[in-house]
């Protein structure tokens, strides 16, 4: 680590309040753009960016189905890229923006990477580990706790997820209807032939 880097890391990663709020919205929009990439290939739309010294150094989106990999969550992909970029398993001085509250694996990875700050949008009542089920990010008995900001662009990110699941349900319903119709046609054809 250079001396400059050391000073910046020790400084933490917060700007003055109003400036920080604007920056948080800007970076959450970048995370949403990642989430949309996921939706475009049929994945649950979850996106993430990691910011260091005011710049995005890594991006990721959910690719679990397409990659057939448990590890292809948005946050894990972004953490992998950020480690490569900084050449360090420690991501001190970084802020992670994610459109949905992290699952236990991703929350654990964030703590392991010693990421300073997490900004999240939608909450995840079924598996969230930034307060919903557990709060892994701020567990005092671990050797690192994260500065957590919740609810940035929460509604937009929740809507994106709800729309995805609504469309998925409608598509599955249409497919089922089409299958039933095809079956009925085959059956009436068979009856006509007999």
């Amino acid at each position: 680590m250079t001396e400059k880097e050391e000073i910046r890391r020790a400084d933490g990663c917060r700007l003055p309040d109003e400036e920080q709020k604007k920056a948080d919205v800007k970076f959450m929009r970048a995370a949403m753009a990642q989430a949309r990439k996921g939706a475009a290939i049929g994945e649950v739309p979850i996106g993430c960016v990691i910011v260091y010294e005011g710049k995005i150094i890594a991006r990721g989106y959910n690719r679990r189905k397409n990659d057939h990999s448990t590890l292809a969550h948005a946050e894990i992909s972004a953490i992998r890229k950020a480690c490569k970029k900084l050449g360090d398993w420690r991501l001190e001085g970084c802020t992670l923006y994610v459109t949905l509250e992290p699952c236990p694996m991703c929350a654990g990875a964030i703590v392991q990477a010693r990421i300073d700050r997490v900004v999240q949008a939608a909450e995840n009542p079924k598996a969230g580990c930034a307060g919903s089920i557990l709060n892994i990010l701020q567990e005092k008995r671990f050797n690192h706790q994260v500065d957590l900001t919740r609810g940035v662009l929460q509604e937009e990110c929740s809507d994106m997820l709800s729309s995805f699941f609504r469309e998925l349900r409608e598509r599955l319903k249409e497919e089922k209807k089409a299958r039933k119709l095809a079956q009925a046609q085959t059956q009436s054809q068979d009856e006509g032939e007999n």
Copy 2:
């Protein structure tokens, strides 16, 4: 998934008790062999294997320092390989053997992968998430809970870790001593010249 696979997965992954105990020791020895690979390259010796249908399908060991990656824990590497092998993000029907109680990231990944069973050796009082700090593996509010066996080859695996840290401390002490000696020599040389 083929029908055969479906039946095997539904069967769970346990053999009769005595047979299972022998198999657990055998597979934990394989995980220890992985851990030694880590130690050989200066990493904290932690190893892991994943077993499916009685065979090891993936191996991993800690490479965090060498790979400069938060994600290079033994369990994460093994899970990545197992997903590739089975072509699925779900590792149902698998048993994971690990020489040290999983950290929050790895415990979370195990739950996400829906691994049926975890067999662990040494306990990890500082970061363990199979009961020491949290019990992510068996948290009832998540959509998956793991069948957990603790303490298989516990002493051998703990000793391997203790030896590693003892040798590391001794090496650091020796290096410090050598540095001090070199400094003293340079100083006395300088004084001789003046």
